[in-house]
Symmetry: C2
Subunit: 375 residues, 2 copies
């Protein structure tokens, strides 16, 4: 994982090379059979496509199969799913999954406009609403329907900023309080500045392989037990209840089933908290607590690094950073470090099973991965 | 396959829905396990990403895994490769592979600029050269090195226009001669207007499934015997010899090996003739004749519909049409029709084995598929 930064001087290509090179060296693999590149914005912002061959060339692997997978903010989760399928297909063994996004260096209108590519630009962007605005609508309805307060939502960014303090790769090293969140400027009512993840640049990469091959490179490689993707209707206006992300529920149900685990078995958790309400809602949609629990698990310390269900140990999208199409790979890389006891100061004790949730659009596409400590 | 048109009144979404719906109805499947959307330009031209969920919603399948695969002009070939891996992974059985591109409705500078996203915009587009210009450099060097003439190159578009005459889905119904090609306006020396495929809109879709599942829906479903992807250095200036597409050779070698066939076994062929020289070069790079054969197979009628190796029976990218990210799926759909004796007036007799070659960038990424008549 490259550090997530605001205004990286590195190009999209340089960021990817840094992460991919680190992953290849860390895994100790020499030959790659293929690679998959996760990214959302390159066509719109960098006006560059064909990232598959571009990145393969950039890392000196200019002959292997390589292509781009795009799925808005879930591109990182979904490119991992593509890598898993490649390995399971038997067509490829040692596979690089890398994702990258560079959002800085562009104007706020450019990036704001680009983020609306995750929703329906033809039918929805024309109303003038922004991507933050859509998430604000969800948060407002959720607060109304379940009597959730702004204080409740603020618990999630406070947790993430606390976790990020000890992580050298995060975007923000800054302890914040619930009061700080409530006093921060309003972005889109009810979401305030500290409810929202920021624009970030970064790249993360993984090496995937069948278990028997992976064991040649690591004593106890982390196992991917489940990789599930589900979708919902693209647009908010098409859904009967915007306070539930059906795609989260479906992807989670499939992942729990494939991994033969239940929410109680999860020891470490990475949630897609692009906005504070999404983190709280995810705890519910993924089955960790009842709908409308008002951030109880966070308030009671269950989600803290020392708690029973350490959550967003990397710092989450809020404090760790949200390089949009790459965030899903950051989450899985963080779980891999946790489950192999290599997370340094972020390390939680005795984690056996981890879960990562990556969201594309406004809860539209959700990728859920379950990972298990190697044995 | 939707008809390929210049200036379709249908949107990107409507084109995809038309092709996907036709594929689903034609195959007679009700339940889809997942879908994959091939496309190159939507972020740049339509300023729309998240096509996975967008298209799943548009065809009323808004819960299944669905994501976009991008690989420049090879997006169609490569999204098929993604679909094949999904089926082979065992995670999904009935899979929709659809690809779509809409290039009309934009200015020539916009589309010309967009096509350079297939090469390296940072380092190459800044020289002022266009995508056609890069292909002209290749053609010029190829002509010089192998004593190939403009007359030789012109044989390929003449063949494609001849084939297209009986196909209702093509962009151009117009018989042309070698003289017509040579007298058409110069676009980028040595390429003339009739050496070049045109800007087109279209969408094509396939239904993939394991053989045993497919047999529930069709008496003798066409088999995909090989799906291979290879890459080369992204940019022309990085290659030792621009007259050979190493990615074509590698992908073809892998595909021949996986399918246990050799060039002589191929009965029907779809080549990526975005420019006339590419069609001629492909016959060589894929092993059908020696380098520098000056279009011998075309001149001798071997590649004609009545010949031993009917080539571009759909009409090719030149006359059939080149909706960039979709063309690779058109090729495979055409082979599927040929190999199931459903190609109507385009039908060639007794074809058992077909091969499709899809190119991304300037020979940078190549996907080769080998299909076999079901039994």
């Amino acid at each position: 994982m490259t550090p997530v930064t605001t205004g990286s001087e590195k190009s999209l290509r340089e960021l990817f090379v840094e992460a991919a090179t680190e992953a290849i060296e860390d895994a100790g693999v020499d030959k790659l059979d293929s690679m998959y590149v996760g990214n959302m914005m390159s066509g719109y912002l960098q006006q560059q496509e064909h990232l598959g061959a571009l990145m393969a060339t950039a890392i000196g692997r200019e002959s292997i199969p390589s292509y781009k997978v795009e799925d808005a903010c879930a591109s990182g989760g979904v490119v991992t799913n593509a890598g898993v399928k490649a390995v399971l297909s038997g067509m490829e063994e040692v596979v690089l999954v890398g994702a990258v996004e560079k959002l800085s260096g562009y104007t706020t209108p450019e990036v704001t406009s680009g983020l609306m590519m995750a929703e329906d630009r033809n039918k929805v962007a024309t109303t003038g609403i922004s991507f933050v605005g859509l998430n604000a609508l969800i948060a407002r309805r959720y607060m109304h329907q379940y009597k959730v307060t702004s204080e409740d939502l603020a618990e999630f960014p406070v947790l993430c900023h606390e976790n990020a303090l000890v992580n050298p790769r995060v975007q923000f090293h800054k302890k914040i309080t619930v009061d700080d969140v409530l006093r921060s400027p309003l972005v889109a009512d009810p979401l305030r500045l500290l409810d929202c993840s920021a624009i970030g640049d970064g790249s993360a990469a993984l090496i995937l392989a069948p278990s028997d091959i992976a064991k040649k490179f690591a004593d106890s490689p982390v196992e991917i037990e489940a990789s599930a993707v589900a979708t919902d209707r693209l647009s908010l206006y098409q859904r009967p209840d915007v306070t539930v992300f059906e795609a989260s529920r479906k992807a989670a149900a499939q992942a729990y089933s494939a991994a033969s685990v239940k929410p109680d078995d999860i020891d470490v958790l990475e949630l897609h908290d692009a906005f504070s309400a999404l983190g709280i809602m995810a705890l519910e949609d993924l089955g960790f607590e009842r709908k409308g629990s008002r951030a109880r698990l966070v308030k009671e310390g269950v989600c803290s690094r020392e708690g029973r269900l350490p959550t967003n140990t990397f710092g989450g999208l809020k404090a760790g950073g949200h390089p949009v199409g790459a965030s899903g790979v950051y989450q899985i890389a963080e779980l891999a470090l946790q489950l192999s006891s290599r997370a340094d100061k972020c390390q939680v004790p005795d984690a056996e099973i981890g879960l990562a949730q990556s969201i594309g659009g406004i809860g539209t596409t959700v990728a859920v991965h379950v990972l298990r400590r190697g044995n």
